[in-house]
């Protein structure tokens, strides 16, 4: 068949398909007539193959190629029910991923809590050590923040609801930013994640040790225990996800390095989604619950312990019934 005949025969079909594509690209049409779309797309692919096989001119082939490409984009476009996906991820996907990746999480936790507890004990025993990692100014700021005399706790002692919002925003911006950095810098052969885990452990440990030592322990611990359950866990998850990237580069196994990285990253990003979720919860608790002084320290400690238990049991038990075995 000559090219002219071929074009004349199918011209209308192509124009129709293109119109449909334009509509799909503007997201106007719903998913009705799904089957006919697939059939039309396959026919277009067949025409493209025919045109190539018969040596038709570049312009025609180019045009069909572009139509096929746009058709391909629409055929495979993300048409997920985001809500349903999120729920499935929350109740089974995330805890399953956490259990699957327990090794890297264990390494990250060991490093983070190890440096945290180690530094805390050291500062508690040798108080002047706190100045080796934290600025004197910052130490002073911390002391005023956790002064047992203050009505409200946290970064500003006198607060109203507008301040709560401000702190909520601050915690989201600051904490999720740090977690993202901890993850992303794992691409530098894991060194970045190691550094951030270790460094954050040191800082938090030093502050905790110092405040306990000068007798602000009860306000400090009752303040941090609640959101700490989510925040500290999230930091270790971010570090673990980063370490996976680094490990894939160092020991790619039977894949090329870039392929190993791609595979590891696809898994790691699930943990990162968990990190975002945990930090949002943490920011909420920190801004609206931890900073309240209406409740006694005992109540906060009990609630905090309950939250830690909740996080632990979520990681261990959630999503079991959905698992294949």
């Amino acid at each position: 068949m000559k090219q002219q005949q071929f074009e004349q025969q199918w011209q209308d079909d192509w124009a129709q398909f293109e119109q449909r594509l334009v509509q799909l690209e503007r997201r106007k049409t719903e998913d009705q007539g799904q089957n006919s779309y697939c059939a039309e797309y396959r026919r277009l692919c067949q025409h493209l193959a025919l045109a190539q096989e018969r040596g038709y001119s570049s312009h025609l082939i180019e045009r069909l190629q572009q139509l096929a490409q746009r058709g391909h984009q629409q055929l495979y476009r993300q048409r997920s029910q985001l809500g349903g996906q999120l729920l499935a991820f929350l109740f089974s996907g995330l805890p399953q991923t956490i259990r699957q990746q327990w090794r890297s999480i264990a390494v990250a936790s060991l490093l983070f809590y190890g440096s945290l507890i180690g530094m805390g004990v050291l500062v508690y025993l040798f108080p002047e050590l706190v100045y080796s990692v934290v600025d004197p100014e910052q130490v002073e700021q911390m002391e005023s923040m956790y002064d047992p005399e203050a009505r409200r706790l946290g970064h500003f002692s006198e607060r109203n609801s507008g301040d709560d919002w401000q702190m909520f925003g601050f915690y989201i911006m600051n904490n999720i930013g740090i977690a993202f950095q901890t993850f992303a810098s794992g691409l530098l052969f894991g060194l970045g994640s190691l550094f951030f885990l270790f460094f954050n452990g040191l800082m938090i440990g030093a502050v905790a040790g110092h405040l306990s030592e000068i007798g602000y322990g009860s306000t400090f611990w009752s303040f941090v225990i609640g959101h700490g359950a989510f925040e500290l866990t999230a930091i270790t998850f971010a570090g673990a996800a980063g370490l996976q990237l680094g490990w894939a580069l160092l020991a790619p196994g039977r894949h090329s390095r870039s392929e190993a990285l791609r595979l590891a990253a696809a898994e790691a990003v699930k943990l990162v989604a968990g990190v975002i979720l945990f930090l949002l919860i943490a920011a909420f608790i920190e801004a609206y619950w931890s900073s309240m002084t209406y409740t006694s320290a005992q109540v906060k400690l009990v609630v905090g312990a309950a939250l830690w238990l909740l996080v632990a049991s979520y990681c261990i038990f959630a999503g079991r019934q959905h698992a294949p075995d």
Partner: protein
């Protein structure tokens, strides 16, 4: 044996940076990866848009006091980390800057980008920016055959040019004729391409190119162009 056009056509593989993806339908998608310059321009545009957005929102929210500054921090977080992700997933792989430069992000296999991949490539941007001014990303893009920065390698994504329809070229007028020899596919395509590109070539260049084929076509060099156009018309068929 009939004379062949073969010597005038390159037999080795052509220099081609298009990315071939075979689909289940048995066709090849041709993706054209975009280089460093258009991507840098697109990023700059996005940066300006984000800056303007933050400026306007900052002025508006500053009227609300502490509540406003809290909201502003949340907005800052969203704009900083989610601007690219939201646009890429919800707007067919195009942030506003990419849209203006005719680029889009797709997976390596040509399918539209997913939430996970978009989140990955944009989080890892942090590393691409190290140690300053996108140094690592630049080195990675320049060294990679498909111009991928580190985030693209990890996420398995590709920044490609959007396909743009070309206007139909006018074939030069000529009397349709049969080719004097059996043409294989490549030769047929080459002759058609020559006729279709006539409008974009100068007279001298057309004569020079056609002159190369004067001998196998058994005509004088001056008549070769008209002869080729005639053959192209013949291949296309009567309209």
């Amino acid at each position: 044996m009939s004379p062949s056009l073969q010597p005038s056509l390159p037999t080795s593989t052509l220099l081609d940076n298009r990315h071939h993806v075979e689909t289940p339908e048995g066709i090849d998608l041709l993706l054209r990866p975009a280089g460093v310059i258009p991507r840098a321009l697109a990023f700059t545009l996005d940066l300006l848009i984000r800056g303007a957005l933050l400026l306007v929102l900052g002025l508006l929210l500053s009227l609300l006091g502490n509540l406003g500054s809290g909201l502003l921090l949340i907005v800052l977080f969203l704009v900083n980390w989610w601007y690219m992700v939201l646009f890429e997933v919800l707007n067919q792989g195009r942030s506003p800057g990419k849209q203006m430069l005719g680029l889009r992000v797709v997976h390596d296999d040509g399918t539209p980008i997913s939430w996970g991949a978009s989140l990955l490539r944009n989080l890892l941007r942090f590393v691409d920016m190290l140690p300053f001014a996108y140094c690592l990303g630049l080195i990675s893009s320049l060294a990679h055959p498909a111009f991928k920065r580190l985030g693209d390698i990890a996420a398995g994504t590709l920044v490609v040019y959007r396909e743009q329809a070309e206007p139909r070229p006018n074939l030069p007028d000529a009397e349709p004729e049969r080719p004097p020899m059996r043409l294989d596919l490549q030769e047929q395509r080459a002759i058609l391409a020559f006729a279709e590109r006539a409008g974009s070539l100068s007279q001298a260049r057309r004569e020079e190119l056609a002159g190369l084929l004067a001998e196998p076509l058994q005509v004088l060099p001056e008549q070769a162009e008209a002869r080729l156009n005639g053959i192209a018309r013949g291949l296309l068929g009567a309209s």
